[in-house]
Subunit: 104 residues, 5 copies
């Protein structure tokens, strides 16, 4: 799993039934302080996330298929939660409620 930031949405006429019903979001892995720390991924949204949200992302195929209740599903990267807050030894470095609603 990784901590991500939703940076965009993607529309594609995907021909796989299980993907056609889903919202596809572009996600950057980020450090606790919000700096990008890996290549962009495309994730299926299962947490009503929006652009700007900090999210928890599961990136393993078998686990992702189980979330969908479909052992045949061709899915791998799934947003499983919007993050409320992140604490480090420097204190609270991210708090969802302080973001306001502008970017959702």
């Amino acid at each position: 799993m990784f901590l991500g930031q939703v940076i965009g949405t993607l529309v594609s006429p995907v021909r796989i039934p299980i993907l056609e019903r889903e919202t596809l979001l572009l996600v950057h892995p980020v450090t606790p302080a919000g700096r990008r720390s890996g290549p962009t991924r495309v994730a299926i949204d299962r947490a009503q996330a929006g652009v700007g949200d900090r999210v928890l992302v599961l990136d393993e195929g078998n686990g992702a298929r189980q979330i969908f209740g479909d052992p045949q599903g061709a899915v791998k990267t799934v947003i499983v939660g919007v993050v409320d807050y992140v604490d480090t030894h420097e204190g609270r470095v991210y708090d969802h409620r302080e973001r306001g609603e502008a970017t959702r």
Copy 2:
């Protein structure tokens, strides 16, 4: 899954039956703005993609095998859709229709 850009084609006398029937495309992972963000992959085309297209790529073996309907298939990376457009907080950063047809 990742957002990719098709950058080339590859021809190889592969001896695995399931791969012999497929078009192999070279794909770069890209950021929403189109900058390369990871190492080149070789993907099987299941979306009639062409060089220059922005595509959605599934890179997990079990999911890929299910797309092919063959639990024994030795496949991992599959192009599952040509992307129509990508939106970020900066607006629409990619639109397939504005590319014209020159590169397909």
Copy 3:
């Protein structure tokens, strides 16, 4: 598996039952000398680890599910042990007991 350093905690109203009962920790992969060597991961804590601890992390879905005794669990990254010490050809480069108790 990789050697990690716990750098923070994360709270998210995750809707997957198996994750709701768990503590989620942010972990950096580190070199033996403690330098960060890869992107941040979110791990489930199975070793009573705290911020600042050096830990052993298992990052493979099937293995992680077996630790949880649940073949249906959507888990991938698990902290399986707090590290006592690390030895290289330069001698002992990390010793948990010398850290004191301040950060646990």
Copy 4:
């Protein structure tokens, strides 16, 4: 799957029966133009590849095991084809026949 370049061979008294019967080659992932684009891998050769060859590499365990016809085999990275040529929007950037036979 990725595009690779064979850069060497490796000899090791591996105690796993399925690996003892195989040639182990060192492979660099490369861009279409031949620049290295990722860490070196050790691959089992199933395509009579030699040092200097551009190859197609499958790097997924379940798929690799199916190539070997052995569901118990501990294999992951397999060279499945020597590449004949690579085309990009800049034209043919690699052609196996122009390499001559010097490096095989």
Copy 5:
């Protein structure tokens, strides 16, 4: 699989039975010439490797579990062989016998 260099050992009171019986080694992926080429991994030693040895590492969970003869084992990264020598187009770039016995 990858070519690695053993750089240290790690001691951790891991609570997973299969790991408690094993030696855990820290390994750097390296190029044929011995330069580090990826993040440090923690591997289970199945080849009597020591600090300084060049080794062959298998990093895939299902394959690793089969080596251990335990489909339930939570293992992923395993040292399967100590490397005798590595040849590239520049000749023999590594020879285990020339290292002497000092570091084992």
